[in-house]
Subunit: 354 residues, 2 copies
DNA sequence: TTGTAAGCGTTATCAA
DNA sequence: TTGATAACGCTTACAA
């Protein structure tokens, strides 16, 4: 990396205008290697198509010059940026942070970059960001959930690139989908509690975005088969989810729904808050109150008592989304465009009664 | 937005080559408004410098055409991308997720975009990503911590754009710095425990990145003044931090350091794990063991007993970093290039003895 | 397999 | 204040 010594090859110094960035360009590499610029371009994109002799000379020149390709010039010339636009509703929600981690890991050594947008759970903001992203002609797009606005959906349908809806599955994919059923998760957690003998099972929910709504719907469905339902058992808030919100909602629930003997929570933060509040009030878990969370964050298994939860494959969702995009970009679009990664009910001490 | 109807103005259809993306360009806007392209460009960048009459015609044309500026072309022509490169060590660590949130919020309506890189706590990966970022000629760079490799530091010093080191402060800023002292945090938490009467205070640490090391150093320093130190009190692991790791480290600590009566934890996840383990083993908190965490995540105040922690201004660090960058980009570089945002010891039940 | 010429859509330069 | 022209660094189209 003799950047200082000869970043500017002799034959180019004179030509270099004041506008130049001063960094070596493809042309610099080409002239140093004694080949045409297009050959260097090809050597970079598809080494197979360049003779091994030239390839070696080019590689040497690149190393000597410390050359780095200018992605803006590439994007401009090819009318296509090596960028995947990712729209997710929250950064601080651990669940989406793990999706993002899966996406990054899925990228591996590919040249693709992630352009990330935080919609703050707003469909309007999602559409606004999408328009910005589209201006860059991204290679692919990832959006969260399946409840896009009609106009957003139209934009995505005509985006001219692979689109993956993540975290949920449903009937009408825009293009591809990777996720799991939130309805089933809510239902299964509730059925499990009914099975172990709970009768007055509350539902605690915060934020209540579309996925939360479907978990709630699943909870209601579980009662239709077995239990006796009471609207007072449901306690929700549009406010963001947090551990303290879990404690707060539980206080509300227990005061308005007499005989409460279990709570199905919208997510793990709420569940942890419920556990703490039970500890504080001296309410025994699981003897008097059973608790179930959603997502199965790492802490659930360690809590005392350990907390039952629905394990969701969020990291895998990110990886799978990228895998499908890379396949589509490589020309072989996956046959299965709707991938349901499922979930797993992790039964722990908080719903285990002797 | 009559995109469908006349996205391609009549006078441009014939000229448009097959390479074109099909989207309206600056030239399309210009010809529709009856002005030169450069005038449209100016109207976009600095409306003040264009007469109000032309500005109106241009705005009308932009709306009619549904024009969106091509950032790649802009970056290529100006040799400068409206991108801020952000290098942080982890995505799933809640602390950095909040820094990122602060950064995003600090951006507000500015045209700046974030390009994010995950170093996975590796200095080599940091340098590799930095080289990639530098290829895009970013408007500014944000890096985590103050322990860059010498070569990384040199790259940053010659990057030719504002650079902010975040999450820590120290003596030799590359350019600017926003953070707080981890040494002081570790020291203050430990001194607090010594004050309330603990004598055998353990230190639990995971990951042990440079910031963790300095917290540990602060912990040691607290003993120098008051307590009697014993190397057996320190239990660390290079493995990532987690709640279960907290429980695990505590089991180790209590078995090797007889008489342990308090633990200062590297972060809140570990502290929560300690609390759960104490619950599990029937060890009373704070009567027999006092606990302190680090960062003061939201759950700490809700836990039962509530957990003492060092409140760190991570969201504010992100906002402040962007504020300093925007100021520098606007031409008035902050006078104070090292900003120490401080921290606050939050004393709670886990270190409150009657 | 390699090269030439002509863009890609914007902005810097210089002139009017 | 406005505009014509030439970059910016790369890739597509076409030719050899």
């Amino acid at each position: 990396m003799q950047l200082a010594g000869n970043a500017r090859p002799g034959d180019a110094v004179g030509n270099r205008s004041r506008r130049s960035s001063g960094r070596p360009t493809l042309a610099d590499v080409a002239s140093r290697a004694g080949v045409g610029t297009i050959t260097v371009s090809r050597a970079l994109r598809d080494p197979e198509r360049v003779s091994s002799e030239l390839r070696e000379r080019i590689d040497a020149a690149i190393t000597a010059l410390g050359y780095v390709l200018n992605p803006n010039a590439r994007a401009l010339a090819s009318a296509r940026a090596d960028v995947i636009g990712v729209l997710i509703p929250s950064l601080t929600n651990n669940v989406f942070a793990e999706v993002l981690r899966g996406i990054h890991d899925g990228l591996g050594d590919s040249a693709l970059q992630i352009q990330f947008g935080n919609t703050h759970y707003s469909a309007d903001e999602e559409e606004r960001l999408l328009r910005v992203f589209l201006g860059q002609r991204p290679s692919a797009l990832i959006v969260s959930g399946i409840d896009q606005l009609p106009a957003t959906r139209r934009l995505l349908e005509t985006a001219g690139c692979p689109v993956v809806q993540i975290m949920e599955t449903g009937p009408n994919p825009i293009d591809m989908m990777v996720g799991f059923s939130h309805f089933d998760g809510g239902q299964q957690a509730t059925e499990h509690m009914l099975q172990i003998g709970c009768r007055r099972i509350g539902f605690l929910g915060a934020r209540m975005d579309p996925r939360s709504q479907r978990r709630l719907a699943g909870y209601r469905a579980a009662f239709r088969a077995t239990g006796v339902f009471d609207e007072l058992l449901v306690t929700t808030t549009p406010s963001p989810s947090s551990v303290s919100m879990g404690a707060y909602l539980f206080r509300q629930a227990i005061s308005k729904a007499p005989g409460l003997d279990g709570v199905v929570c919208n997510n793990d933060d709420l569940a942890l808050g419920v556990l703490f509040e039970c500890n504080r009030q001296g309410i025994s878990v699981p003897d008097r109150i059973c608790i179930a969370g959603y997502n199965d964050l790492e802490m659930m298994a360690v809590a005392y008592p350990s907390l039952t939860s629905i394990r969701t494959p969020r990291y895998e969702v990110g990886r799978q989304a990228i895998a499908m995009i890379r396949a589509a970009l490589a020309g072989d679009r996956p046959e299965q465009v709707i991938v349901d990664l499922g979930f797993e009910l992790k039964v722990r001490e908080s719903t285990t009664r002797q």
